[in-house]
Amino acid sequence: MSVRRLRRRIVSGTMTALVAVLSFVAVLALVLILGYLVAKGASSLDWSFFVKNPVPAGQAGGGVANAIVGTVIIVGLAALIGLPIGIGTGLYLAEYGSGSLGWTVRFVADVLNGTPSIVVGIFAWTWLVKPMGHFSALAGSVALAVLMVPMLARTTEEMVRLVPHSLREAALALGYPRWRTSLRVVARTALAGILTGCLVGVARIAGETAPLLFTALGNLNFSTSVTQPMQTLSLQIFTYGTGPFDEWHRLAWAAALVLMGLVLVLALAARRALRSRHGAAR
């Protein structure tokens, strides 16, 4: 009896230790990345880094103001295009997507979700950059939106499906038309979850580089024109990181730190939004 108990204890202890070590390794990756970024980049984060534009190669100083503004514009525009389409598709799939059309949409979304982002970049180049005749921020936003839509659609669908069927019935029994039930009751109840999906989706595309290489291209000057090439933090990191100058490497580390910080803030906001849903019972 006691031998068996001992055996159980040993197995339990070993397993607990094993999963603890594994989760430590998982967390370690994030800690190492963040720590290294802070070590390499934090010292370059000064006022001029945020407000100044790049200076000619070889010179000291300058900042990445153009890339920060460019990231906000391109990602913002992508969200503006992608969020309504993604959320709308998700709502459709959850509420009306039981037929073969729903199945098809779901399948396409899953395939699109797994499509390498560089392929999406080529697609945007072929359909937007080439006909327009030049690279543009708009083409970059479209490419990012395409990456975002399937992800959003599936998260929205999941979140809407979590809403209990009884709520839907209660609204319908009250004389709510179907569309109003979907929007006023079902989508409203799932809102926190949908919002979380949006934030995660934005965070996910904020760091994309490959599709932007073919579309937004990058720009060493400050530009807010969406029909012209535009710089983003990710493109800046790519250009500076692969460049020959130490000064560039320094700025690339700092830019990487800022980008990581941005994603972190979005992730935290997403968690908060999700918690507020459970806090609704206050």
């Binding site: 009884s166 029994a173 009250l174 004389g175 709510y176 019972a281």
Partner: protein, 258 residues
């Protein structure tokens, strides 16, 4: 305002059969529900009583494969007539479900107002009065009048169920359908709902599904016993419980099966 109590028939089913795909869950049932009475539907689980109830406000057709044959007449008019809009119809027939279903994102006030808002905008004062009146009729007003803006989820289970009753009453329906409204409530909550039934029947025609035979005996004027989709017996409650005419009914109410 509801019309004065009389024996005028308000709601009746005529040879109503409810099906899921090809399987009939309710077979050929004809019942009259006299105005301002409480009719209890009893029977073992799966006997079709809830399905029957859901036919009365056309909720059954929203279930997977749900359809019916026969008629449901409200004031002599078939509610399944192609000219009748199911959405509009449901505003005239209130329903309360087994488990409380307050809308979680809405305040207490907004929950009660939900059924009114769907019927179009009205002046603020009128809305306030309608909400208060519905909450009073559901015997919930005194408990919530100081926190109408709070989330409905802050209420206890019994209060949530009375909130759902208030929500169903606010649009002034003619008929109130209750689907085991006390199944998830404690004895105090159950008593509250039962007392409500007594008061509400002076203004509404009530049909209640219940698993609790004592409850049916306590609150209903008429009782219908369902078994395997058939209406076995229908009669005045005191008669059905004291001298049932069918053997199956007697077996069920004396607890020999079910």
């Amino acid at each position: 305002m509801a019309p004065p109590a009389d024996a005028r028939l308000q709601l009746e089913t005529a040879r109503l059969t409810a099906l899921y795909g090809r399987r009939a869950a309710v077979k050929d049932v004809s019942i009259l529900f006299p105005t301002h009475t409480v009719t209890a539907l009893i029977g073992p689980s799966g006997c079709g009583k809830t399905t029957f109830l859901r036919c009365l406000n056309r909720m059954h057709e929203l279930s997977e494969g749900g359809w019916i044959t026969g008629k449901v007449l409200l004031h002599g008019e078939d509610i399944y007539d192609p000219g009748i809009d199911a959405v509009q119809l449901r505003r005239r027939i209130g329903m309360v479900f087994q488990r409380p279903t307050p809308f979680p994102t809405m305040s207490i006030y907004d929950n009660v107002a939900a059924g009114l808002r769907v019927n179009g905008r009205r002046p603020r004062a009128e809305m306030d009065a309608a909400v208060e009146s519905a909450l009073r009729r559901a015997a919930l007003w005194d408990e919530v009048k100081d926190r109408l803006r709070h989330s409905a989820l802050a209420l206890s289970g019994g209060q949530q169920q009375r909130l759902c009753v208030a929500r169903a009453l606010a649009p002034e329906p003619e008929v109130l359908l209750l689907d085991e409204p006390t199944a998830s409530l404690d004895p105090a909550g159950t008593q509250h709902i039962e007392e409500l039934c007594h008061e509400l029947k002076t203004r509404y025609t009530i049909v209640i599904v219940t698993h609790n035979l004592q409850q049916a005996a306590r609150i209903s004027d008429y009782t219908a016993f369902f078994y395997l989709g058939d209406l076995v017996e229908l009669g005045r409650t005191e008669e059905l419980f004291t001298k049932p005419t069918k053997e199956q009914t007697e077996a069920y109410i004396t607890g020999r099966f079910g």
